[in-house]
């Protein structure tokens, strides 16, 4: 299976956030979407998830044009996501957070519950299964969001900075978990993260954005040494140091 964006352009008032961006992810593949802050990564994920309509361009799941689909409709077609700003269901416990997402899948009820439990133990959430989400720390909430997205039984998982706010140990553990997900759950992952070491170790391919434009794409080793990428990242590092 394949998820692809073709020439996506997104205009906000007075700002072109994305300019003719095309990319695709296949089943069992991990594609990293990287770029400096404000380069349009989240905006692209929002157009794929259906939270935002692109000004121009199309999104395809295999040969199906899903550009006009609502978010609910996209989940039913195998797309699931997590959010950069955590959006857990805070008055529900961890299990309910995940179970609520499994309700859209086509499994029968007892398989759904089994599947939820499988995801819960895979992401090490057993210990906090019955804890209310609003009492969790940041790292746990992020894993709950990933588990919730996985519970919809998706073909493609879209993750927006899943390691943000985690300490080094936590992100290392997350990395190992994510690495195995495509094969174990038979899906493709599109992941955004600013932690370069995590992204480099995790991804099969990278797609680099800068100011809404694609500046490089390809295998990790090729992209890493690409002059524009080096420049974009040095530029950002420079800015951050002065901030």
């Amino acid at each position: 299976m394949k998820l692809s964006c073709e020439k996506i352009t997104v205009d906000f008032v007075g700002l072109r956030a994305l300019d003719q961006v095309s990319l695709s992810v296949k089943t069992k593949e991990i594609l990293g979407l990287i770029g400096p802050n404000g380069s349009g990564k989240t905006t692209l994920l929002n157009t794929i998830g259906g939270q935002l309509k692109p000004t121009k361009g199309n999104i395809f799941k295999d040969n199906l044009d899903i550009t006009e689909f609502t978010p609910q409709h996209r989940v039913k077609n195998g797309l699931a996501r997590s959010f950069q700003i955590v959006r857990t269901f805070d008055s529900l416990n961890v299990f309910e957070n995940i179970k609520s997402a499994s309700l859209v899948s086509n499994m029968n009820y007892s398989d759904k519950i089994k599947f939820c439990d499988e995801i819960i133990s895979y992401l090490n959430l057993d210990r906090i299964k019955h804890v209310l989400a609003n009492t969790l720390n940041y790292g746990d909430r992020r894993r709950v969001e990933i588990a919730r997205a996985m519970a919809t039984d998706p073909d493609f998982l879209l993750l927006d900075e899943p390691a943000a706010g985690m300490n080094d140990d936590e992100s290392e553990i997350l990395l190992t978990m994510l690495r195995e997900i495509p094969n174990k759950f038979n899906l493709g992952i599109l992941i955004i993260d600013h932690d370069m070491s995590l992204i480099m170790k995790l991804c099969d391919r990278l797609h680099v954005l800068d100011s809404g434009k694609t500046i490089a794409e390809g295998l990790v080793d090729q992209v890493k040494t690409h002059p524009d990428v080096v420049k974009a990242y040095l530029g950002e590092g420079f800015k951050n140091e002065n901030a």
Partner: protein, 342 residues
């Protein structure tokens, strides 16, 4: 969908026992005034738990609930009123209603269904609204329903008293309907629809991203909620037997809202606790008012004490316990925990 888990069963059993205890306390007290209060309490539980079904699970405050109650009261009364009373109370009644006089309980059920249908038609466009817009539009809906009830003299007797209903609601009937409402509320809350609606209450964008259709989830909840309000209205109408549009307006709206805020709208336990505590408080204050009035301690007329105390209580709760006495956990969750520990 497995909806009967331990926690739910414990909650439902707890309230069954509580209701039976209240019933027997009334039996031993044996006073007509007390029985009246207890019957009213059970009707209020239907009303507040019905409000919880929508408001608690969707997180949207609704002012329209008492409006739905009035639809249930008037429509069931119209069906059950004895034929000879009809000519007396409703002089301009449409001929089709002139010769109907259904069994009161059947009328109450039809009244509930009718209320649900009206709610389904009126509320669908409102279900997209969030926050202040949703609250204000529900308030507008209350005013619309009230105006129609006042204006449609042919079936409501207009602003004048609507009377002559058979007195059919007994304590036992109110108790049974009340208990069925509680069972429904727990089952609904833990059903697929209830869970997804609660998810959307916590975060609408995330809920859509897992496939929740928020408009329809809310719509279903408000239809169920209006059905229960309609039933409560019908039961109340056949208990009090005469009422007017004034009986279903701001004061009553404020009363149910205060019950659900004090108890906690997220839980069924909270809704019941709110109805219970406010009823007890209300009766106590009414009694105090009377005592003050007859004791000659204060020479001027002392009215409105109840409203003032209720308002202050709500303000205190909103500041100190905005999610009410039972913010997240049902009584059954607590019982389950205690039992597991032992």
């Amino acid at each position: 969908m497995k909806i009967i888990n331990n926690e739910n069963t414990f909650s439902i059993l707890f309230f069954l026992i509580l209701f039976i205890i209240i019933y027997f306390v009334n039996f031993f007290v044996g006073s007509a005034i007390f029985e009246r209060t207890v019957t009213n309490l059970f009707i209020y539980i239907i009303l507040v738990v019905g409000l919880q079904v929508f408001m608690g699970n969707s997180g949207i405050l609704s002012f329209a609930h008492i409006g739905f109650m009035s639809i249930g009261a008037y429509s069931s009364g119209l069906l059950s009123m004895p034929i000879k009373m009809k000519g007396f109370v409703l002089r301009d009644l449409y001929p089709i209603f002139e010769n109907v006089a259904f069994d009161p309980i059947l009328s109450i059920l039809i009244g509930g269904i009718f209320t649900a249908i009206i709610a389904a038609i009126l509320t669908l466009p409102l279900m997209r609204l969030n926050d202040a817009a949703a609250v204000i539009s529900s308030f507008a809906l209350l005013m619309v329903i009230h105006s129609i009830v006042v204006g449609w003299s042919a079936v409501t007797n207009g602003p004048r008293t609507f009377f002559g209903l058979p007195k059919a609601t007994t304590l036992e009937i109110a108790l049974i309907f009340s208990f069925l409402t509680v069972i429904f509320a727990f089952i609904y809350k833990n059903s697929k629809f209830g869970l997804l609606l609660r998810a959307s209450r916590d975060n609408d964008i995330a809920a859509e991203s897992i496939g929740a259709n928020i408009v329809y989830l809310r719509w279903f909840a408000i239809i169920a909620s209006a059905f229960l309000a309609g039933i409560a209205g019908g039961l109340w109408g056949h208990f009090i037997t005469s009422f007017s549009p004034k009986s279903f307006y701001l004061k009553e709206t404020f009363l149910v809202i205060s019950m659900i805020i004090i108890g906690g709208s997220f839980t069924v336990t909270g809704a019941i606790a709110g109805a219970l505590l406010v009823t007890i408080g209300y009766e106590f204050l009414r009694w105090t008012e009377k005592v003050i009035k007859f004791s000659d301690v204060i020479t001027f007329e002392f009215i409105g004490l109840t409203e003032i105390v209720l308002s202050i209580t709500i303000i205190i709760f909103l500041i100190t316990k905005p999610k009410g006495l039972f913010p997240f956990k049902e009584i059954g969750d607590t019982i389950n925990k205690i039992i597991k520990k032992e």
